[in-house]
Amino acid sequence: MFYLTLCLDYMKNYAKTRLTYRADFWIEVLSDLMYQAINLIFILIVFRQTPSLGGWSEAEVIFVYGFFMVPYGIFSAFFGVWNFSERYIVKGEMDRILTRPAYNLFQVLLENLDPPSLFGSAVGAVIMAISWAKLGLPFEALDALMLVIFIAGATLIYMGLYTALTAISFYSDAPTGILPLMYNLQNYGRYPVNIYNKTIRFLLTWLLPFAFVGVIPASYFLNRQEDHLQTLALLTPVVGIVVLSIGLAVWNHGVKRYRGAGS
């Protein structure tokens, strides 16, 4: 209950700051959508050259992309701490967080809410719906349920992975951090994983499970059997819970090591 009121208060706060910079809100929504559009352009360019990518058609790859956008949008709305290391470690703001009663990660996330990202999720849902119809897939009640479960699982994977990666700042004091370098890797989880060699496929499936936020859960709906993708999809929520637990453990351990910047 305490956390819920806290969340609402931060939301109100966010709305107030946002109303000060009204035009900027729309610029941000627009640029978020442009960002997604550019990734789509890449897919369209690729399919100008070839009818199929590792046995997947254009409509299927776009479906995967639509799915991928939904959890990604939710994740970006609630996890915008790209400059964690500069703001909280180097400038010592973590001290302020730690003197307060609410859970520290929760506070950090609330301070960096970014609701406009949810527009991306909406567009992703529309893209998915269109390709769903285009591919002539049946839609049953179970599909709706699975969709919710997979999206929740995928969001947890993002949260867990990036919590762990952000927590690296507690261990190594680099200002630029590893996050921008990692950022590109997540994109490869959107393409059919069977095109990669064993090492990269293993990496994307089990070490940094970005395949579980895009191509694997989407193959459940596409009925893709290769590499047992369809069965693997059922693991999405499990992987989500495991990854989030690891992420939180790394974070909590890191917070204990935090000593303050002394500035």
């Binding site: 000060t20 910079y21 035009a23 900027d24 610029i27 941000e28 929504v29 627009l30 640029s31 978020d32 442009m34 960002y35 550019i38 990734n39 352009i41 890449f42 360019i45 690729v46 100008r48 050259q49 070839t50 199929s52 990518l53 590792g54 406009p116 190594s172 004091d173 680099a174 200002p175 630029t176 951090g177 590893i178 921008p180 370098l181 990692m182 590109n184 890797l185 490869y188 393409y191 059919p192 095109i195 990669y196 060699n197 090492t199 990269i200 990496l203």
Partner: protein, 264 residues
């Protein structure tokens, strides 16, 4: 005065050196990145020998070289400038006896130099061992490419400065910074070579500065563009460098009158 600017390069280089551990892991991540692209392209090529004027071997080389070049010219000056505008510290920079924009460029160059020596070169060696990459034999091409790489850095920095300075006009340009990053990656040809773009888009690209950052120089380095055409690429880069100075100076002049410090 010039030595002060050189010191800025040195200081930023040493600062990066203090945090070098990240870059060892960065090399691995870039290698994975290039690897993923390699397999993606392999799947796109399928049984075809040539696409968009590239053979698969040329494409692999292109991907490896363009990503490694990106490691050199990439910097966060846009974010730094926007941050300093937002927290008001840019006001202090105005009263100091140096050119703020030149200082930023020098800091970016110090960072780039660090990335060149500790990231790009070792990274390229590792990538060459892992994937079928063919580098040019002719030392003249190497020399020409290094000049072009410098210009890539300058043009990319100019674009970064322009986006950063926009913070004077919109108070929060986070979204714009993100969009710019992706636009530059796509239109400069890191993600897909320009020759793969649909005709009208490829034509439009010829009128934009982005392809001078990656696509044109990398085409020279991979041997697709040679002889006088290569020199033409150099000319295109120099023209863009000169042209981009104009909006930067205009915006900078405007910005001085627009500055209002938001708290802090």
């Amino acid at each position: 005065m010039a030595s002060a600017y050189l010191d800025l390069i040195r200081i930023r280089f040493l600062m990066m050196l203090a945090y070098r551990v990240n870059y060892y892991s960065g090399i691995v991540i870039y290698a994975i990145n290039i690897g993923a692209y390699y397999f993606l392209w392999q799947a796109i090529y399928g049984a075809q020998n040539q696409l968009g004027g590239f053979t698969l071997l040329q494409m692999t080389t292109y991907v490896a070289v363009s990503w490694m070049a990106r490691a050199f010219y990439f910097n966060n000056l846009d974010r730094e400038i926007a941050g300093e505008i937002r927290d008001g510290s840019v006001a202090v920079q105005f009263i100091r006896p140096y050119s703020y924009l030149l200082v930023k460029t020098m800091q970016g160059f110090g960072e780039g130099l660090f990335r060149l020596l500790l990231f790009m070169i070792p990274g390229l060696v590792i990538v060459c061992l892992l994937f079928p990459v063919r580098l040019p034999q002719d030392p003249a091409v190497w020399a020409l490419y290094f000049v072009m790489l410098m210009l890539s850095f300058l043009i990319n920095t100019q674009i970064n400065i322009l986006t950063g300075l926009f913070a004077f006009f919109v108070e929060n340009n986070e979204g714009m910074l993100r969009m710019k990053r992706v636009l530059v990656d796509l239109f400069s040809g890191v993600v897909v070579p320009i020759s793969f773009f649909p005709g009208w888009l490829a034509k439009a690209m010829e009128w934009l500065p982005f392809q001078a950052i990656t696509y044109l120089p990398t085409s020279v380095f991979t041997g697709r563009t040679a002889g006088s055409a290569a020199l033409q690429v150099l000319a295109v880069q120099i023209v863009w460098f000169a042209l981009l100075l104009v909006p930067i100076l205009l915006v900078w002049r405007q910005a001085r009158f627009r500055l209002f410090v938001q708290g802090g």
